[in-house]
Subunit: 293 residues, 2 copies
């Protein structure tokens, strides 16, 4: 696996938006002998020896499931099912992170689309506008209310994740839930009424007391836990003195290029354990070392 | 108004996230004599002669309104009210676009936060997970279900807006609802399971039949109709032959630097009318002419 390719990117899925919105074509595809259904264990995938997802015939779908048309891949229509017995707001099992270690990024990208959609349907079965039960439409890329006619679309929640840079060093932080010695880039949800650049500056101020300028976008990835869009940036910080928000972070430290390189190289004397290759923070560290941003 | 500053950016609002999550501090602020309430006409602002929004005392709030704490500005706590008599899913009045012509971008940014939040509350009064009526929490930056305990947060919907570049020209398109002669950059919602770069490539393929590569992020802005995050990019197109999706676009054409410059200069012989200065597509055209991206 190429660790410079952002995790969850490079899916070969053709989302076929014109098919999604065509009920006749959709109906024909669900009857097609070539139609494939994603095999899931709860909301996690089942992988073969190459780290690829296992699919089965669409005929094996649970009759009580709602079906999402993911698109075409390798010439075949691909579906995922929303089984009514799946728990709402499925938690992240440790198993999925072990699987992501071996899944090719593009395969993980296809999975990300399926997982985010399934999770969204499980938690959005009612109309937020009037409280009535809603129905899937657009091949599972939306839900519609028969009562008030509102249309609802799957959420994608933009998140900024960033390295503040000062005097050749970058700031990394640790959340209490991280594995021991793990540090990563600081991150937070973008809010209504702000740009990407403003969200980066706000988060660095809130979490570390820094004033940031010259925000540079670097790279992005989807992160399906449950439906984030991670946008990685680098910004200049006005100082290295920190005022840490301990409700968000357990610790934050400045590290040099040599220290980041040692961490990525797996050096046991490195000051921290880096995020895994499928996380955009990993890609962001690599790009920073290469002089990107 | 500086037309190179992205619209809706530069707000001086301090969102004071630690206050939002502290019910005692919030209660104290709502009782403060300095607390200000945004004056609205429906969901549109009311402007003074300088294009600045008019505020009144918080004591004048409708007792049946829910109150959003926007943050601090000019040392004063700022609130907006969600009046129960406001229409759900308020449509865009022509008046708001005339106002945006004169509002400073930072002022429009504060308004964008208020408008997106108010609109979100109006259309999300029920729990999407179980259908029960929800209550505001976190000073209006979320809603909570007393029944199933689900927490819901305001949506921000990422949108990619882009110029495909080929042989020194860029592609612009026209939607049927645009004013006469208006063209803009192509755009579309980012979907679950894709990166920014993948969304740009998908949209250019869906709408114009192009294969895009080398996607460069340029600049972003919030767009509160109702809650988009517009992310402007430039990408290389593999060809100039177009396959236009006429369900999305009425027309699409390639234009030169000289033609874009003439349009922005207001030349009556220019081939198209550009988007207004407060729209990110305008900023994107300016940045492209300057060699950005």
């Amino acid at each position: 696996m190429n660790r410079w390719v952002p995790g969850f990117t490079g899916s070969t899925l053709d989302r076929a938006d014109l098919v999604r919105t065509n009920p006749e074509q959709l109906a024909a595809l669900t009857g097609s002998l070539s139609a494939r259904l994603l095999v899931l264990d709860g909301i996690d995938p089942v992988l073969d020896q190459d780290g690829l997802m296992v699919w089965k015939s669409l005929a094996e779908a649970d009759p009580s499931s709602e079906l999402i048309f993911l698109g075409f891949d390798d010439g075949k229509p691909r579906f995922a099912e929303v089984r009514p017995d799946l728990p709402r707001g499925a938690s992240r099992s440790p198993a999925i992170f072990r699987m992501l270690d071996i899944m090719p990024p593009g395969e993980a990208g296809t999975y990300a689309a399926a997982r985010s959609l399934i999770d969204w349907h499980l938690r959005h079965g009612f109309c937020a506008q009037c409280g009535t039960r809603t129905e899937m439409f657009r091949g599972g890329w939306g839900r519609k209310c028969g009562q008030c006619k509102a249309e609802h679309f799957p959420r994608v929640d933009p998140v900024v994740i960033m390295l503040a840079e000062h005097d050749g060093k970058v700031l990394i932080g640790r959340q209490p839930a991280y594995p021991p010695r793990r540090y990563s880039a600081l991150a937070g949800f973008l809010e209504p009424g702000e740009s990407l650049e403003e969200a980066v500056a706000r988060e660095l101020h809130e979490e570390a007391g820094l004033r940031a300028s010259n925000v540079r976008y670097v790279v992005s990835q989807p992160w399906p836990f449950p439906s984030s869009l991670m946008m990685a940036c680098i910004a200049d910080a006005d100082r290295d003195e920190l005022t840490i928000d301990y409700t968000e972070l357990e610790d934050a430290i400045w590290v040099t290029r040599e220290e980041v390189q040692a961490s990525l190289d797996g050096d046991p004397d490195a000051p921290f354990l880096p995020p895994p290759p499928y996380a955009i923070a990993h890609t962001l560290f690599r790009r920073w070392l290469e002089g990107g941003g």
